[in-house]
């Protein structure tokens, strides 16, 4: 469990997912799951984000976009790959336009299984990501603030 004094902000990008995992990511923010009550926000600006949440697999067209968002985020940062597609290509891995999971383009810290990944699993993944974030702060000899 993590002791970061600050709630993580997320930036979400839908690589080539089927929407199933995306709407579950959104469902985490809305009543019933409501992670916003812990201060976890889904924001559009990569420069404000600590955790990059990616759903869906990688293809030729979106490779550059994923890389671009990742590069724009400030260090330290954590990548959470959500759903079978983002972790390995899932049902689409044999499609001609799918080159595999997100880890073929950027380093991934947490893999969340499921097709579609359940909101509980996604929240769990983000919490695990928090631990990683704290460790990364530690490596830099900094305390998160």
């Amino acid at each position: 469990m993590s002791f970061l004094p600050k709630s993580p902000w997320l930036v979400h990008y839908d690589a080539s997912s089927c929407n199933g995992c995306d709407i579950e990511v959104l469902a985490c923010l809305t009543p019933v799951y409501d992670v916003e009550r812990f201060g976890v926000l889904n924001i559009g600006n990569p420069k404000h984000a600590d955790i990059f949440v990616v759903t869906g697999s990688v293809n030729e067209q979106n490779k550059a976009v994923i890389k671009n968002i990742y590069d724009q985020m400030a260090e330290p940062k954590v990548v959470v790959a959500i759903g079978a597609c983002a972790t390995s290509g899932g049902v689409f891995r044999e499609c001609y336009n799918v080159s595999g999971g997100v880890d073929t383009v950027i380093p991934v810290d947490v893999y969340v299984p499921g097709c579609a990944a359940r909101p509980e699993a996604i929240i769990d993944g983000v919490v695990l990501g928090l631990g990683v974030l704290e460790a990364k702060y530690g490596e830099k000899g900094k305390v998160a603030s």
Partner: protein, 359 residues
């Protein structure tokens, strides 16, 4: 008149979870043109029919889109059943219609929420999604999944739902109905909502028809066209009329979808009442040979499925024409002339589903 500026909108942007990209050409604040570019989520799954046998393929087709997943699965199996001449049991037909309408309620609630978010009414967004969770609970109880269900198979369904459960669900649907009424009131009467939506993005009846709009986009312009009227699944035995509005603006599109939620709830009630007993699947022998084209009404509009078999367990070709693809052209027609700040709203009113469009 100012100089022309091009503003890129997307692919990663805050209004939609999906990567829609438009190059907006502006003169001052007014938009004079929009150029879409697509392909960010193209997977090429139609070609997978050559690698997966026709029964397995139902699971892949369902993953075209996680919002209309059930109806995609249904469209696929319906096409293959027609090719093979399989007649499915009555109960399976009713259950398909039931889940189809449940998908419509969930999809429209999702859209209403996103729409509220787009015009900056966050609490309304949250309330829509709160009610939607009840619908997802019904899905989870009856199929085992929240967004991806995998219940359709060629020859019927993988799962049956017993009568007691259905009756209890009938009660839950009444609660859902009750929960939606106050929200619908806000969408239809609230001053700020009206301010943003009335008269925005008008599509006349002729334009809508000629540009090939489908679904709520078409019906909001006064054309009563609904593929469910073809009577596939159990729709032939259920009573309903296509919902239409005449104004053709954003407000009319909201109104159509709100009224379609009530309509879908009513159709589900009829399904529960009229559903006969018995099995939900027949055995299927042999492989598909021949071709067929079927049309289904998705929450977003009419989708067309084409399948061609060659007598082996792998199909030759499978193709889907999705509603968003049809609605992109009307969208590009209504964007020029509006303000930059209204683009998210306009893009949302077609209820875009990019995963479907690009597959």
């Amino acid at each position: 008149m100012g100089e022309r500026t091009i503003i890129p909108f997307g692919p990663q942007h805050p209004v939609l979870p999906e990567p829609l990209h438009l190059d907006l050409i502006l003169e001052d604040e007014k938009i004079v043109g929009a150029v879409p570019s697509i392909g960010f989520i193209h997977r090429g799954l139609e070609k997978l029919v050559e690698k997966r046998d026709f029964q397995e393929m139902a699971f892949v087709i369902e993953r075209i889109c996680g919002i209309c997943s059930f109806i995609h699965g249904q469209g696929y199996v319906q096409t293959i059943e027609a090719v093979m001449g399989v007649e499915i049991p009555e109960r399976a037909k009713y259950l398909r219609s039931f889940w189809g309408e449940l998908s419509r309620v969930h999809s429209h609630l999702l859209w209403l929420g996103l729409m509220a978010d787009a015009f900056g009414f966050e609490s309304l967004f949250m309330h829509c999604w709160r009610v939607r969770e009840k619908v997802l609970d019904i899905f989870e109880e009856t199929t085992g999944g929240r967004v991806i269900f995998s219940v359709c198979k060629v020859g019927g369904l993988w799962k049956n739902v017993d009568g007691d459960t259905l009756r209890r669900i009938g009660g839950v649907l009444k609660d859902v109905d009750k929960d939606i009424r106050p929200l619908a009131d806000v969408f239809m009467r609230d001053y700020t909502v009206q301010k943003r939506c009335v008269g925005l993005g008008v599509l006349t009846k002729e334009e809508a028809f000629q540009l090939g709009a489908v679904g709520p986009m078409l019906r909001a312009s006064g054309v009563a066209m609904d593929a469910r009227k073809l009577g596939y699944a159990a729709y032939g035995n259920l009573e309903f009329e296509p919902v239409t509005e005449n104004a053709g603006d954003c407000q009319a599109r909201i109104a159509v979808r709100v009224r379609e939620i009530y309509q879908a709830l009513d159709i589900m009630r009829q399904c529960i009442e009229k559903m006969p007993g018995g099995e939900v699947a027949t055995t299927v022998k042999g492989n598909p040979q021949g071709e067929y084209l079927s049309r289904l009404e998705q929450p977003r509009g009419e989708a067309v499925y084409y399948g061609k078999g060659n007598g082996t367990k792998y199909l030759d070709r499978f193709r889907v024409r999705t509603p968003t693809f049809a609605n992109l052209i009307p969208l590009l027609h209504i964007i020029p002339g509006c303000d930059l700040a209204d683009v998210p709203l306009l893009a949302l009113t077609i209820d875009p589903c990019i995963s479907c469009t690009e597959r």
